[in-house]
Subunit: 164 residues, 2 copies
């Protein structure tokens, strides 16, 4: 079992109808290998979601967030062995200069038009929460259960299984 | 370090302007000793907040929740060593018969008038989130930092230190 916390943050930073996406092509051992995801990472001891968010966004992008919202909690299950709880944020204010392209060691950072997001290589369940974000629901709790091959087995929104 | 998950649920069940409160007087080794808290407990592997909620409420009270809301996430720090993330729910619908008084092994269950809650022996920070619940804020993230003697050192709401 990993020593890392099973609690993480995941943030989608918005500007001009684009989201800042990370293409995870750099690490060899990576559950997100070749996928496009937001920025974020594992909680350090004692951190609140907001403290983890600000630290991780700064480390990965060079940006300091000045306006953000806690949008949902995602329970991410991969098979029976791995469960991760992701505090999902969006942000629409920041200072600093973004490490675009190659400068981030976790992956490549690219601003992607919101209308093009679903054509990227995403986790299948991420398409569900992009839709929930667009619907401006104040807060949601979404459980996503994946098979080992990465296909989505089940999606449960606020305790109710979703029709798919 | 405890083997238990550091992720828990905490639920305040409402009926007729009362909350179902648990008086923690039964366990000898209990960080909540003699305090009044809601019902809930630690996540089992793979559980979503809602799955943990339903299981823990049923185990502790005998009630099956039929209507509930995820109201906030509390980052609870006791000194530097212990951090717990509490998914905070309220519930206003249930079936079954409540194990009132002595029947629950975790503590004594009592329906308490909402107007009397603050006169109970509560964690100091719990008074803050009772007020946030009454204000019907859609969702909040509250970090509560306690000294080892149980006094509240700091309260941070959605990333901003609260004036107290």
């Amino acid at each position: 079992m990993s020593e890392k916390s099973m609690f993480t943050t995941l943030c989608y930073i918005e500007q001009d109808d684009k989201y800042l996406m990370m293409h995870r092509i750099k690490k060899k051992q990576d559950e997100n290998k070749d996928k496009w995801i937001g920025v974020g990472g594992h909680f350090e001891p004692g951190e609140s979601p907001e403290e983890c968010l600000l630290r991780e966004v700064y480390e990965e992008t060079g940006l300091t967030l000045t306006s953000y919202r806690f949008r949902g909690l995602v329970t991410f299950c991969l098979g029976d062995e791995m469960t991760e709880y992701m505090a999902l944020f969006t942000a629409d204010g920041f200072t600093g200069t973004c490490k675009e392209g190659d400068a981030c060691e976790e992956g490549e950072l690219v601003w992607v038009e919101k209308s093009s997001i679903e054509s990227l290589n995403l986790w299948e369940g991420d398409k569900i929460f992009f839709r929930l974000l667009e619907e401006e629901i104040p807060f949601f709790s979404l459980k996503l259960v994946y098979h080992h091959d990465g296909s989505l087995q089940d999606a449960i929104l606020n305790g109710v299984r979703m029709e798919r």
